[in-house]
Symmetry: C2
Subunit: 179 residues, 2 copies
Amino acid sequence: MPRVEIRFAGFGGQGIGLLGRLMGEAIALYMEEKNAIMTQSYGPESRGGASSSDVVIDEGEIAYPKATHYDYLVVMSEEAYHKYIPNLKEGGTLFVEENLVILDDHAKKAGKILKIPATKIAEEIGSSLYANIAMLGFFCANTDIVSEDALKKVIREKVKARFVKNNLIAFEKGKNYKG
Amino acid sequence: MPRVEIRFAGFGGQGIGLLGRLMGEAIALYMEEKNAIMTQSYGPESRGGASSSDVVIDEGEIAYPKATHYDYLVVMSEEAYHKYIPNLKEGGTLFVEENLVILDDHAKKAGKILKIPATKIAEEIGSSLYANIAMLGFFCANTDIVSEDALKKVIREKVKARFVKNNLIAFEKGKNYKG
């Protein structure tokens, strides 16, 4: 597997940083011969309401740790979609929070577009806070990056205890969602 | 302030990633005109027991997010010291877990060396798990990167609830430690 670049993006409060961290930890635990780097940016941009985190995976040392041409772009907000769709690779995979993003012609470059009402699913469990993990379950089911078991294990380990149960439910619902 | 590079390093289980994350979040909250990027690496290296995380701060966009020539190097293990001391800038600041690291001639390049028995301090509170936050308090007291208030706020927000109280104690003890 050559270098793989994933960008997660949305707005502050959606737990975008956690997505990158869970992916990074899961890869660390279960992909024995891969390196991964997780990057999270903070600054005026993040205070302005936008949030993004990157995971870059490669077999050897990772010379440049930020994602610049995404194999996978996961957008949880309209702003994130417009900002980052230019850097999705031709033929790359686009994951979309379908009730928060309206696609335009730029999305045509995607080889695959996968849509999920992650926030609505999360609200049915009790809080929109779980939308990120519903998206993660959906991402897991539709890619071969990292196993379901690895992600569930890191959810149990890394998420605050009182949120674990509902996050695992959100993960399952996302995983089983058929767009 | 020009670009500032910080590397935290130690072994797995010391909560090195959390240090980077707390710094990044604190900067995001309280340094209005700065950008910051936090990077955490995973891979064979991290499974081998080593762990590191970087925070890079700059006024403008951060072109290269990994730390390569550290203004501040914080080492919590002997291995981390030997591995990363070559990349400390001449005149940079070296923070050391003094019971876990034996310095050698390479440390002479440091403009300042600050030592703290962070693990011992943490054990006095009840667990070596708090050593990272004792180090963070010590770092905070001896640098002008980010305020005490900002760091305490993110500790309250980001650390698991049952560990917050003791982590705040560890932070205070680190902050007040005189080497």
